[in-house]
């Protein structure tokens, strides 16, 4: 069981992933953009940040950078459906566990989350 923050502006996808991970026993908090997610990170402790890259207000790159500054130990997993967004994330690979490509299947996102959680203590 982990406490996971999901930052994703697309409501349908966010709720789908949130429900699936909650059914796995995780405690899920959802945010619709990077700024909202950062407010949660400043106020609460999480085991993992799962964030979309392209989001309004504050995107996933800025969120990941701010999160790594605030809580260096928290693993960060990014998601994107755009090749150019993936390239933007490449300089971040030191602070980001992985970039999951959309569209993904439930088993794929579950596995990515499990790998990221295990990478935390390593």
């Amino acid at each position: 069981m982990a406490r996971i923050l999901i930052a994703e502006d697309e409501d349908t996808l966010r709720r789908f992933v949130a429900r699936a991970l909650a059914m796995d026993g995780h405690d899920i908090v959802e945010a619709a953009d990077g700024a909202e997610a950062l407010e949660h990170i400043e106020a609460e402790a999480f085991d993992l940040l799962l964030s979309d890259i392209r989001m309004p207000v504050m995107d996933g790159i800025a969120l990941a950078t701010a999160t790594a500054d605030l809580t260096p130990a928290m693993p960060i997993l990014l998601m994107t459906g755009y090749a150019e967004q993936r390239e933007r994330a490449e300089p971040l690979m030191r602070i980001v566990v992985d970039v999951v490509e959309k569209p993904f299947t439930l088993p794929q996102i579950r596995q990515a989350v499990a790998d990221a959680l295990m990478a935390k203590a390593a």
Binding site: A2, R3, A18, D24, V29, Q111, A114
Partner: protein, 180 residues
């Protein structure tokens, strides 16, 4: 250090430490008289702790009924976040003493929901027993009456607790330290 599934697991609480705490907690729980005690294990992470604690309760002279509930917690916003009942208990809790068992107390959101739910349903008293208390993560005030161990803010596995369904079988509580 134990290696499981290619990962090094550093034990944090050994089987002996856990067994000793379970015996002590059971004795404390048995100290006060109970009215038709119903023990409710919150699935899934607490199944091993609950299995050991109820047997320790037997040794301490209690004869509870045992039930299981599955809750799921997700949603937007700290305050409005919802806890949902995935699988409810079958028993009537009215005028009964309830002991909720969970593996770990962190934010307290699901346990607070479960306790309030039992009081709404007319329980006489609701106590909480957790194996681990991560006090640093608490949102709002909620304390468990019975705590096995204060737990540092590590991501822990074993003794029922998992990563993607793995490591539940470990007889100790440990931390994944990386690849072997």
């Amino acid at each position: 250090m134990p290696v499981v599934r290619g990962k090094i697991i550093e034990p944090l609480f050994t089987p002996e430490m856990i067994a000793e705490r379970n015996r002590t907690m059971a004795a404390e729980i048995a100290e006060s008289p109970k009215q038709d005690l119903l023990v409710i294990s919150i699935l899934k992470g607490s199944f091993i702790f609950a299995a050991d604690l109820i047997r320790a309760l037997h040794d301490a002279g209690l004869a509870p009924e045992v039930e299981f509930i599955t809750l799921s917690s997700y949603g937007k916003g700290t305050k409005s976040q919802g806890v949902k009942i995935i699988k409810d208990i079958d028993s009537d809790v009215r005028d009964r003493d309830i002991l909720l068992i969970d593996d770990i107390l962190e934010s307290g959101r699901t346990l607070r929901f479960a306790r309030d739910l039992m009081y709404e349903r007319g329980a006489r008293n609701v106590d909480i027993a957790v194996l681990l208390d991560k006090r640093s993560r608490r949102e709002g005030s909620l304390d468990a009456e019975y705590v096995g161990f204060e737990c540092p803010d590590y991501f822990v596995v074993g003794y029922g607790m998992d990563v993607a369904y793995a490591f539940r079988e470990l007889p100790f509580v440990g931390v994944v330290k990386g690849d072997a």
